[in-house]
């Protein structure tokens, strides 16, 4: 099975600091993959390199047969990688439904004049986006909040809306950056089920960064552990749980 996403010796330096060092990652299509590590291990930096936000200093990222480092976030999104953010970045003044609709914008085939002159193509596009967004809100359990401005959503729902918006881009791979942060245990259980559903029902490959060990161990099939920018372990949840280096990284360095 060939990998959907593969990085080879991905390295990034900020000034003198090597934030991520020779990072290798291989995710196969349909996998539910976890990337974990202590604070400051460089996980979010990896996401930023995968999605075109940061340009790696060295190394390569291949996705679905394309070399994607050097591409900007818009190009990466169009190739089929979508993501959420650790510090939620919703479009606060838009409604919940409109937030999800913005995810569908990149697939619209109409031009500005269709919208300005209100051609039939415009109305078809609006319907397509609205229907798709609504489906995804239902999928995430947010359909009865569709008309609410996003800024009025409670915290847990904001995280879910970000996922719905990312799904609306019709990605092949979705990268979730600490999706459970700030959620209570009930919400976390619900979120675990949703993440599984994303993979099983929508058939989207999932890469998740998470602090909550229970959630990661629970849902991920494969886990890679990062510490100080370096991979220290890779394996199934049970292998990771018994890995000496991992235990040391989490409990040791105090």
């Amino acid at each position: 099975m060939s990998a959907l996403l593969e990085t080879s010796d991905l390295t990034i330096r900020f000034g003198g600091l090597t934030a991520v060092d020779s990072f290798n990652l291989a995710i196969s299509e349909g996998e539910l993959f976890g990337l974990i590590g202590p604070n400051g291990a460089g996980k979010t930096t990896v996401f930023n390199m995968l999605t075109g936000v940061y340009l790696p200093t060295e190394g390569a990222v291949h996705f679905d047969g394309n070399l994607i480092n050097g591409k900007n976030p818009v190009q990466v999104a169009r190739l089929g990688i979508s993501r959420t953010f650790q510090n939620i970045r919703l479009f606060d003044e838009l409604s919940v439904l409109e937030n999800a609709m913005t995810g569908a914008h990149q697939h619209s085939k109409i031009n500005l004049f269709d919208s300005l002159l209100r051609t039939p193509r415009h109305y078809r596009e609006e319907k397509r986006q609205r229907d798709r967004a609504y489906e995804l809100l239902e999928f995430m359990g947010l359909e009865d909040r569709a008309g609410l401005p996003a800024k009025q959503l409670p915290y847990g729902h904001r995280r879910k809306l970000e996922i719905a918006r990312a799904l609306a881009t019709e990605p092949k791979l979705i990268c979730l950056d600490e999706p459970a942060a700030g959620m209570n245990s009930g919400e976390k259980v619900e979120l675990s089920q949703l993440i599984r559903k994303i993979r099983d029902e929508l058939e989207i490959t999932v890469l998740v960064i998470e602090h909550d060990m229970k959630l990661v161990m629970d849902i991920c099939e494969k886990i890679q552990v990062l510490d100080y920018g370096k991979t220290i372990a890779l394996g199934t949840p049970s292998e990771i749980q018994n890995d000496k280096q991992v235990i040391e990284a989490y409990l040791g360095g105090e």
């Binding site: 900020f14 979010t44 930023n48 936000v53 940061y54 953010f85």
Partner: protein, 328 residues
């Protein structure tokens, strides 16, 4: 004054005749000297922009008006004391009184600067930067138009403190007032440097500009430090105002508008937030304007804005600034 009109490209738009054979090397050298004097004033005003921006990330649009009011704040006492220009008469103002006028203007502007901060900017410290920017524009308009109401729109002549005479300095000749501008600026900049680097309040300013939240946690009185930043910047601008008034005795309530914009450009050019940068930026801009002015005075007005756009595009952090990275 008719400008040279070139052959034209777009509807006969004038093209700058870059290679005018009438311009000699000496003439350019002379313009460089004039430019340093001009740039000194930009630098005096630019440090105020850069310090406030460093601390609050706010373009204090009203700063040019502080400079304007600095000039008026020495005009009225001078007038009251009866030192008005008399044609043909030798100026006989004692040095001590000149110093007094500077001090009066500095005190007035320091108070004004702190007042502006307290009344207009502090209530907005936690709102969007856009709201603060618009408020700054509002304060600028208020001072300009308030100035027009109080002082009238007609230009005011400033008392002559010294007879303007040309002093020969090697290949160039400079008016004595311009030499005073350069000398006073050098003294003020040295003073500012010592204040910021060697004193406790100066250290507090640097701390706030580095990280205001941490500075507060370290027990620094942030409100007082910000007020002090405004006061210091305003003092520098007021000195610029008095110096310009001495050199070109023509005060108008709108004199701060273009001067302020250009000084801001100087601050951006030097790297906003950096005091040495503001000085370097001011001098560079002054020299560039003067040299271009050898060919065309109106185009010299455009120099600042062309430089501004080029700097923003090529190196937004300016000559001596640090570049930041957005945290994702």
């Amino acid at each position: 004054m008719p400008e040279p009109v070139g052959s034209g490209i777009l509807f006969g738009a004038p093209v700058l005749p870059l290679l005018d054979s009438g311009v000699t090397f000496e003439a350019i050298l002379q313009q460089v000297a004039n430019g340093i004097a001009k740039g000194s004033v930009y630098a005096l005003i630019a440090v105020g922009y850069t310090m406030v921006y460093g601390v609050l990330q706010l373009i204090n649009f009203a700063h040019g008006e502080v400079y304007m009011l600095g000039a008026y704040a020495s005009y009225y006492p001078a007038k009251w004391l009866g030192y008005m220009p008399d044609a043909g008469e030798k100026p006989k103002v004692p040095l001590v009184l000149i110093a007094g006028l500077f001090v009066a203007s500095m005190a007035f502007c320091a108070t004004l600067g702190m007042l502006i901060e307290r009344l207009a900017y502090r209530p907005l410290r936690n709102s969007s930067r856009l709201a603060a920017l618009i408020t700054a524009i509002g304060v600028s308009l208020l001072l300009q138009n308030g100035g027009q109401m109080l002082f009238g729109a007609d230009p005011k002549g400033f008392p002559r403190f010294m007879d303007q005479e040309s002093v020969s300095l090697g290949p160039v000749a400079l008016a004595n007032t311009k030499i005073v501008i350069i000398a006073v600026t050098a003294v003020m900049m040295t003073g500012l440097h010592l204040f910021v680097q060697k004193t406790k309040p100066g250290a507090a300013m640097r701390a706030c500009s580095y990280d205001m939240r941490t500075a507060r946690l370290m027990g620094i009185n942030v409100d007082r430090t910000i007020a002090l930043t405004f006061a210091t910047g305003s003092i520098m601008a007021s000195v610029g105002g008095v110096l310009v008034a001495m050199d070109q005795p023509r005060l108008t309530p709108l004199m701060g508008l273009l001067m302020g914009l250009k000084a801001f450009v100087a601050a951006v050019l030097g790297g906003i937030g950096s005091i040495p940068g503001a000085v370097l930026g001011g001098l560079t801009l002054g020299v560039a304007e003067s040299v271009v002015g050898t060919w065309s005075t109106t185009y010299s007005e455009a120099v600042a804005f062309v430089i501004l756009i080029l700097v923003l595009l090529v190196k937004p952090s300016g000559l001596l600034g640090k570049s930041g990275r957005e945290k994702v």
